[in-house]
């Protein structure tokens, strides 16, 4: 059976896993890292850097290092959170043609799915190297609270990366899947997922390999990065107070502060106090430099981030109460996401649910493992009684705009997927040939407060007196949580055409061209790697030949014409190889290599057969 990758595409870190011989494994990259930073950069020499390489040079190349793409994907440029992030990050953003967000990287402008696709390609390559085979299918995870636009954009990222995304599953569900895999259990669990950029809480019932989501809630803009930002803001403020000078828009300084903040935050999970040391943080003019050296206590960190934790609590309250549940109703608590390592967070969770969280779940890896399990389960042909089944739900209500700007709900939140609802639409004027339907996701009664999914236009209706033409429209939400709309004319029973407008997603052509661009990039990277390999082999051979040349010349002294011919050939091969290297000509280089190898082996034979030259 073809392998399916389970990819946790996180805000700060990504992880890839695959089921091997019936058990899911996280795949480490060549450096031994089991997670990869979700970062993309453009080095000064024009090379694209992804993952650890990108993170390492983030300070010196802040303007061209992209992070936190997941906080922007599928959002409108004008939304509050995008504007907030724009003010905080050193890289440049712009508004895209459909009101989406685009990123400046070097000379080019990229859409968010493209940026994320670069991280996905990296994860794909990590897996392919380990498995030794090409992987084209994947299950990608998304926060449970992601809306249709964000999910669609993530799926596009997968396609641009050359992956067939057979399913998208929710992160908390994936973690629950990893928790229950291979274990017989009948339990009610809650997954508290506080990752780098998003927060989800899901309550699930697990019963003999069936995982049913009871309710889910969250915030797609609340996570570890916000905790980091609090510390960073504190550092900036303390610096200003101490030195009476503002840091200003110094990208390098800000990036150093950000990294120091993250480091301090992590250290405070294991220590009560940590030292933040930033020498030469700011230079003004030729002579003035300022340093920052301060201790930060755990208690201080907790004060700085208390409101963020309280936001989590409020979301838990609402999610549970909407489903008629209380914290004590759950049997097991599962923590997911790096930020749940913070002691104050763990304390809050334990207090809220009355249990210690389970220890068997790795907060950084569980989601990827769950995704791999689900992928394997979907494609397996032998679906026995113990095959896992996910009964997930939609996190937002689906509604349409009606007279007065109100939103009428067609599908309630927390409805089991896949699901559908139908409604009959009619014309309001004589000879009306088109009907426009605006679809929203959200809980508010006012459409303006919900998220516009898209405008669907039914056109080509037959001209008739008003009220006579009736069209049945069905709204479907797939198991991935993606919304689709289909229409049927009731009188004729024929499928009606639907046009989708104002959906800020990429169209097929754009995706295809972005995928081609990625393929080109990969080809050029592969070619470069190949060239490096050829060149180093050539260099080694040439050095060896040079070394032995004088000895061989002596040996061939008495060989007459044959010897002369051979030696002149050696010289010409060396010369041609040198030019090939200079001109970076791979084809020529390949030819030279075979000659060089021949010369080298001949030299070996000669030096072996002859005794050592005398005198």
């Amino acid at each position: 059976m073809e392998k399916v990758l389970g990819i946790d595409l996180g805000t700060t870190y990504s992880c890839v896993s695959v089921v091997v011989d019936g058990s899911p494994k996280v795949i480490a990259n060549k450096g031994g890292y089991r997670t990869t930073p979700s970062m993309v950069a453009l080095a000064p020499d024009g090379k694209r850097l992804v993952g650890h390489l990108a993170k390492r040079q983030a300070v010196t190349n802040a303007k061209n290092t992209i992070f936190g793409a997941k906080r922007l994907i599928g959002r409108r440029y004008e939304s509050d959170v995008v504007q907030q992030m724009k003010a905080q990050v050193p890289y440049a953003m712009a508004q895209g043609p459909q009101g989406d967000v685009r990123i400046h990287l070097g000379e080019k402008i990229y859409s968010l799915p493209e940026i994320s696709s670069m991280v996905l390609i990296e994860m794909k390559q990590v897996a392919e190297e380990y498995l030794g085979e090409v992987c084209q299918k994947a299950v990608i995870t998304v926060p449970a609270y992601f809306n249709d636009g964000q999910r669609q954009a993530t799926k596009d990222a997968g396609r641009i990366a050359g992956l067939e995304v057979i399913r998208m599953i929710n992160e908390p569900t994936a973690a629950a899947l990893a928790y229950g895999y291979g274990r017989e259990m009948e339990k009610r669990v809650v997954v508290f997922d506080l990752g780098g950029g998003t927060f989800d809480i899901s309550v699930l019932d697990i019963g003999h390999a069936v995982y049913q989501v009871i309710c889910t809630g969250g915030d797609t803009f609340l996570g570890g990065e916000d905790f980091d930002q609090r510390v960073a803001d504190w550092i900036t403020a303390e610096f200003s107070k101490e030195h009476q000078i503002e840091i200003g828009p110094d990208a390098m300084a800000l990036q150093r502060i950000k990294e120091a903040a993250e480091k301090a935050k992590c250290e405070l999970s294991f220590q009560n106090e940590t030292e933040i040391s930033l020498p030469f943080l700011l230079s003004v003019g030729k002579n003035k430099t300022y340093h920052f050296q301060r201790k930060l206590a755990r208690k201080q960190l907790e004060e700085l981030t208390l409101d963020l934790i309280e936001r989590c609590v409020r979301i838990c309250d609402k999610t549970l109460s909407d489903a008629g549940l209380k914290g004590a109703d759950v049997n097991d608590v599962i923590l997911v996401g790096g930020q749940t390592r913070m002691p104050r967070v763990q304390q809050m969770v334990k207090q809220y649910f009355g249990h210690d969280p389970v220890k068997s779940v790795h907060p950084d890896e569980a989601v990827a493992l769950g995704a791999a399990i689900q992928g394997d389960s979907l494609l397996s042909t032998n679906k026995g009684k113990d095959e896992t089944l996910l009964l997930d739900v939609t996190p937002h209500s689906l509604g349409i705009m009606i007279v007065g700007g109100y939103s009428q709900k067609l599908i309630e939140k927390n409805t089991t997927l896949p699901t559908s609802a139908t409604r009959i639409f009619s014309t309001v004027k004589d000879s009306q040939t088109a009907v426009k339907i605006r679809v929203f996701q959200g809980e508010s009664r006012l459409s303006a407060e919900n998220e516009l999914l898209g405008e669907f236009i039914l056109d080509d209706l037959r001209a008739a007196p008003r009220g006579e033409v009736e069209v049945e429209v069905s709204f479907q939400i797939s198991a991935d949580g993606l919304v689709s709309v289909a229409a049927k004319d009731l009188d004729t029973g024929m499928e009606q055409s639907i046009m989708v407008t104002s959906k800020s997603s990429l169209n097929e052509e754009e995706i295809a061209s972005m995928r081609d661009e990625n393929d080109q990039h990969l080809i050029s990277v592969a070619q470069r790697d190949e060239w490096v390999r050829l060149q180093s082999e050539a260099d080694a051979l040439m050095a060896e030949i040079q070394k032995k040349l004088s000895g061989v010349q002596q040996i061939l002294q008495g060989s007459g014409q044959e010897g002369e011919r051979f030696l002149s050939k050696v010289q010409s091969v060396l010369a041609i190889s040198a030019t090939a290297i200079q001109e970076q000509d791979p084809a020529q280089m390949a030819r030279c290599l075979s000659d060089l190898r021949m010369v080298s082996s001949t030299f070996q034979n000669l030096t072996m057969l002859s005794p050592a030259p005398r005198g």
Partner: protein
């Protein structure tokens, strides 16, 4: 039965049979039977049953398999299972549902009874529904029919017209005009129109004349003249309006042509109206039309021979001519 075991779909024979069986009984079984639980089963059992049945019929179980006609069946089954769980998992809904089921269970007869009763109920319901829908549609069409709406408006106006017929003929006439605007060919309306015409017109003329007189007394001579002319449009031979209009035309606007026209009209319409004649004589004299003045004065004297002043005037006029 539509689709039987087939080689083209990606399902084993057992799977196909199970799907067909389940689908066929979707509407005849109770929700409990659908989930395969006892009536008094506890919530835990209901959930377990839901999980069990879901495993067989959730679309993911048939992921990426070619299902042909079975796809819709599976979707319908899973839909129904979800609905069944929704009802039975909620205590209130479950109670309400169970109250609708028969209490005594005798397996064989119950099955037969239930089948026939359900079938009958279904077909009746369907028929009623069809009829109801068709009727609704017809009503909707009628309601939305543009002519129906206009007719309704016309009726309204006609009712108003009838109300005001005796008390205020002008208003009644206006309402009737509106009614006729929306429904021009209506014979009832047209009949009423005929009835109202003379009375209302006289009223209107009276009103217009009254207004013009008021204007004149206040010194708004132009408005007054317009008013008189307006009244004359309704009743071209109204003597008082003519008189006043001519007066204004001669003294104020000096429009001799129009004055002359109106004077002629007054003469023709009221040949034996003595005050009118007397007035006209003066007017003609003012306008320098002595022959006309003589003619009119002569006729006046024919009717009132005793008027010494008029006779004197006549002599003067004859001298002037």
């Amino acid at each position: 039965m539509a689709a039987g075991p087939s080689d083209r779909v990606d399902l084993t024979e057992e799977e196909q049979k199970r799907i067909l069986c389940f689908h066929a009984t979707l509407d005849t079984l109770t929700l409990h039977e659908l989930l395969q639980v006892e009536r008094g089963a506890p919530d835990q059992e209901i959930k377990r049953a839901y999980f069990r049945v879901s495993r067989d019929f959730h679309p993911d179980r048939y992921f990426r398999r070619d299902l042909g006609a079975f796809q819709k069946k599976i979707e319908a089954i899973f839909n129904k299972i979800n609905k069944a769980y929704e009802v039975l998992a909620d205590p209130k809904k479950r109670q309400a549902y169970e109250a609708t089921l028969p209490t005594k269970i005798t397996p064989q007869r119950l099955e037969a009874d239930r089948q026939s009763a359900k079938q009958q109920k279904e077909s009746e319901a369907l028929r009623a529904q069809d009829q109801h829908l068709a009727e609704e549609r017809r009503q909707r069409r009628l309601r939305h029919h543009p002519l129906a709406k206009r007719k309704a408006i016309a009726e309204q106006h006609f009712a108003d017209a009838l109300c005001n017929r005796d008390s205020d003929p002008v208003k009644a006439s206006n309402c009737l005009q509106l009614a006729l605007a929306h429904d021009p060919a209506n014979p009832t309306y047209l009949k009423l129109q005929e009835e109202l015409s003379p009375a209302s017109r006289a009223m209107r003329v009276e009103r217009a004349f009254g207004r013009a007189q008021a204007d004149e007394s206040l010194g708004s001579y132009e408005e007054a003249l317009d008013g008189y002319l307006g009244a004359l449009e309704l009743d071209p031979n109204e003597p008082r309006a003519l008189t006043r209009a001519i007066n204004l035309l001669v003294t104020r606007s000096k429009d001799r042509g129009k004055a002359t026209t109106l004077a002629h009209r007054l003469e023709e319409a009221h040949p034996n109206d003595q005050p009118a004649l007397r007035f006209l004589a003066r007017v003609y004299r003012e306008l320098g039309m002595y022959k006309n003045a003589i003619r009119v004065l002569t006729r006046y004297l024919g009717l009132s021979p005793a008027d010494k002043d008029a006779a004197k005037e006549l002599k003067e006029l004859k001298k002037l001519d």
